[in-house]
């Protein structure tokens, strides 16, 4: 395995070294031509600079042998690039038959994944190192694209089509993934992390014993970020969902005009059945987290939301009923 190219992301999949080798190959060929042509221009520029106002250049009209040479040589090199690129691509488009199937669904603007055992994740993807993984991609609305720079792979997620992509992670760690097909307002924050784990850790994680943090508030805060709650429930109240600062224990005004006290039961219901009670002024956008959170995790989240009481309450966008109610 070659050493890492400068200006390239981590190499964390079987494709990464191939793609980097291709990059190096094409860069070297292109550099040769770029330098040769630029050098020729600079040399001619000074060497044949006009010496007197009426000077005329030597009338050379062309040379067919030269023309043939500079058509055939680049063509051969180009065919080399085509051939090598094609080999990598054909490999990429044909997943090995025994690959681990993970379903990935894009929707405006989040990623949902489902592991082979049914475990679901949001904006997270856990994969085992050294194992072929095939992603089956689907979209609920517009075209998205699942892109992991460290793996050097991407594939469009097209509504009405079911594209697949595969890779074999080689290096445990956490790597960015992005949506790289423009998909509307929050295209740029429609991303997350791929976690490559040692196979044993992955198996443990799948079975749910991933060693939760002792402090439920800390664990809850981490979950709040991991599950992308934070992308909509923005602290200052400008998000697409109400701010949760100071919400615990307060009265919340609902879309149907009624109010409800935000207690543990309300928070649990809002996580598992988000559309049951909609806060006034907001759209029913939140996906259900039923089946994606263990009871322990729900408790951690609740603990974290409770801890937000000490945060300043935004002037708008919290859904907390006007204080006249409290009086």
């Amino acid at each position: 395995m070659q050493s890492q190219l400068p200006f390239s992301p981590d190499q964390a999949s079987n494709f990464a070294p191939h793609v980097d080798d291709l990059m190096l190959f094409i860069t070297l060929i292109c550099l040769f031509f770029a330098v040769a042509v630029t050098a020729a221009i600079i040399i001619f520029f000074f060497k044949y600079h006009r010496k007197s106002p009426n000077e005329v250049g030597v009338p050379i009209h062309g040379d067919s042998r030269l023309e043939a040479a500079w058509m055939i040589v680049p063509l051969i090199l180009a065919m080399g690039m085509f051939g090598w690129g094609a080999v990598v691509y054909v490999d990429y488009r044909h997943a090995p038959p025994d690959a681990l199937d993970i379903y990935v669904i894009g929707k405006q603007w989040m990623w949902k994944a489902q592991q082979p055992n049914g475990l679901r994740e949001i904006n997270e993807l856990h994969v085992p190192a050294g194992r072929d993984v095939r992603l089956i991609l689907a979209s609920e609305d517009v075209i998205h694209d699942f892109f992991v720079p460290a793996f050097r792979v991407k594939m469009d997620v097209v509504p009405g089509h079911y594209n697949t992509m595969w890779f074999r992670p080689t290096k445990p760690g956490r790597y960015h993934f992005f949506c790289s097909q423009y998909c509307g307002t929050n295209h740029a924050i429609m991303g997350g992390w791929v976690t490559v784990m040692e196979p044993a850790d992955y198996a443990a994680w799948l079975s749910g014993s991933s060693g939760a943090e002792a402090n439920p508030v800390v664990a809850g805060e981490k979950l709040f970020a991991e599950k992308a709650c934070v992308t909509c429930h923005v602290g200052n109240g400008t998000g697409r969902a109400p701010s949760l600062n100071g919400v615990f224990g307060a009265k919340v005004l609902l879309a149907d005009g009624s109010t409800v006290v935000a207690d543990e039961a309300y928070i649990r219901e809002s996580i598992l059945q988000p559309n049951a009670k909609i806060v006034a002024g907001y759209q029913p956008l939140m996906p259900t987290f039923q089946g994606q959170l263990t009871e322990e995790q729900i408790l951690s989240l609740t603990a974290y939301i409770k801890s937000l009481q000490s945060q300043p309450v935004p002037a708008t966008g919290s859904g907390i009923a006007p204080t006249t109610e409290k009086r």
Partner: protein
């Protein structure tokens, strides 16, 4: 001016052929020949179109330049249809069908 004047007799012959073509294409459409129905329909339509271009539009008597223009238009239309079909014709058959394990994850 040295333009070619096509005689009305030729026009009438072409008109009769076009009528005949229309008759045949309707008749053939009711015979079941499997996927050749579409082939027959398109072949007859192309013959009719060629007759119109060659005689009604005088392409047969036009300068080579005009004939090149016509060839170009057909060629580019063919490029568009053929190269797009290279994609559709060689796709895995199921790319527009939901694998059963994923359909429940999608909004209905």
């Amino acid at each position: 001016m040295s333009e070619h004047i096509v005689s009305p007799k030729i026009y009438l012959v072409i008109f009769a052929s076009l009528m005949l073509g229309t008759g045949i294409t309707v008749w053939a459409a009711f015979r079941d020949v499997g996927k050749f129905n579409i082939v027959i329909a398109l072949v007859i339509a192309t013959i009719k179109a060629t007759l119109v271009v060659l005689f009604f539009m005088h392409a047969r008597y036009s300068p080579r330049r005009t004939q090149m223009v016509i060839v170009c238009s057909v060629f580019w239309l063919a490029i568009m249809l053929a190269l797009t079909l290279t994609d559709y014709d060689t796709r895995p058959r199921d790319s527009r069908l939901a694998p059963p394990a994923i359909s429940h994850l999608l909004r209905a």
